[in-house]
Symmetry: C2
Subunit: 235 residues, 2 copies
């Protein structure tokens, strides 16, 4: 099985009683629709660094992230690596497989994730006669597109400082916590997100810490001074 590295199969999903059903792809389904799900939807848990799928693979599933965080990675001919998007809570990834296209990215787990692996045949069956599901799919596609464009404008434009500020602000709002706290990634990954080197990423973070824009609570967990960061990006 290629889904290596600490995969934990949690059993088949019971979509009908899914705890996050209202926020999730199948929100609009009717009771009767669940009868027509014959191919099993697996319920999976992954630990950091697990590889969900690889760019170029012909996929037969889409994935709904019920909990966690992962990175979508692309490579250039010269070997450069760029992280083009993150997927978190209630995001759907691998949509391209619905169109018969191979996966466009490596999908790698960043934080422990719980997700459902849905065979594309299930989605296709449900689609006939489910305008709500269509609508929901389009919404996911649009979400991915908006995210991707935000990465271009916010995380690939301006100085390293500005990009980092944008990244941090994104992270604290998506974590949606009462406290402005986020978990940071390896300097290497931060570099690949912002289009800068590991070293500059490190230096910028050091500078932010010196200025108290950023405060390390425990390893990889940081508290950020949102107003200060906002000044940086609108200057």
């Amino acid at each position: 099985m290629k889904l290596s590295l600490k995969e934990a199969w949690q059993g088949e999903s019971n979509c009908r009683n899914c705890t996050v059903r209202t926020t999730v792809l199948f929100a609009g389904l009717h009771e009767s629709d669940f009868e027509s799900i014959h191919t099993p939807i697996d319920d999976l848990v992954f630990e950091p660094d697990a590889l969900l799928y690889r760019a170029g693979e012909q996929g037969a599933h889409i994935f709904t992230l019920r909990q966690g965080l992962l990175k979508m990675v692309q490579y250039l001919p010269d070997g450069t690596r760029r992280i083009v998007r993150l997927a978190g809570n209630s995001d759907v990834i691998g949509l391209e497989s619905l169109l018969g296209e191979p996966y466009q990215h490596d999908a790698v787990i960043l934080q422990r994730s719980e997700l459902c692996r849905i065979p594309i045949s299930v989605v296709q069956n449900l689609c006939s006669g489910n305008p709500d599901l269509h609508q929901e799919l389009m919404r996911r596609w649009q979400r991915a597109l908006s995210e991707s464009e935000a990465w271009l404008t916010e995380l690939s434009t301006g100085t390293a400082r500005q990009r980092m500020a944008h990244l941090l602000l994104r992270l604290v709002v998506t974590e949606a916590q009462p406290q402005p706290v986020c978990q940071l990634f390896s300097r290497e990954d931060i570099g690949a997100m912002l289009g800068i080197t590991m070293e500059t990423a490190s230096r910028v973070i050091a500078e932010f810490k010196r200025n108290n824009w950023l405060q390390e609570l425990k390893p990889t967990y940081y508290r950020c001074d949102i107003p200060a960061l906002n000044v940086l990006i609108s200057a």
Copy 2:
């Protein structure tokens, strides 16, 4: 009417007999489907610099580009401008309005364009009972997503030279001509596409011309040395 600047209304579209129907959004429609198009689909032509729509507007139409080229522009809080995507032949833009979301970009014509303005109500009506149209819509969304991600990896990564090479190669392949010829934009726009300044854009182009990677046939029209450019990006 806000669609200012030399708009030319060409009459109502006759989708049934559209010359590019096979490549276009409505490719999968049946004869009978055309009966149910009650709201008019307008057939428009725009000259360069015309503004199709503006970011933030609540749109009531999507647009199919039958011919031409336009840029999709986003702005940062600090006023920076980035071109996040180009749309050309047979691309569909403004899809977000189908979801009730406001337009995410300014859409500005770069080269004389012929396009159809389709009311979202028409698309929504046709969608019920037209899986092919759904499929086609998803394809367009995925295309936009792929494009957007390619801009991140190819046009916002590496040195100015590499980005320019990527841009030129993209342009000559999309033009799909026998000759490796493309029409270039203002230095300002090139800068906004590559995330560099007008001046560096100018310098890089000058350098390419000196090295004969690039040859100006007539104003704004260039012939490029594809192999040479390929070396640049894979070095």
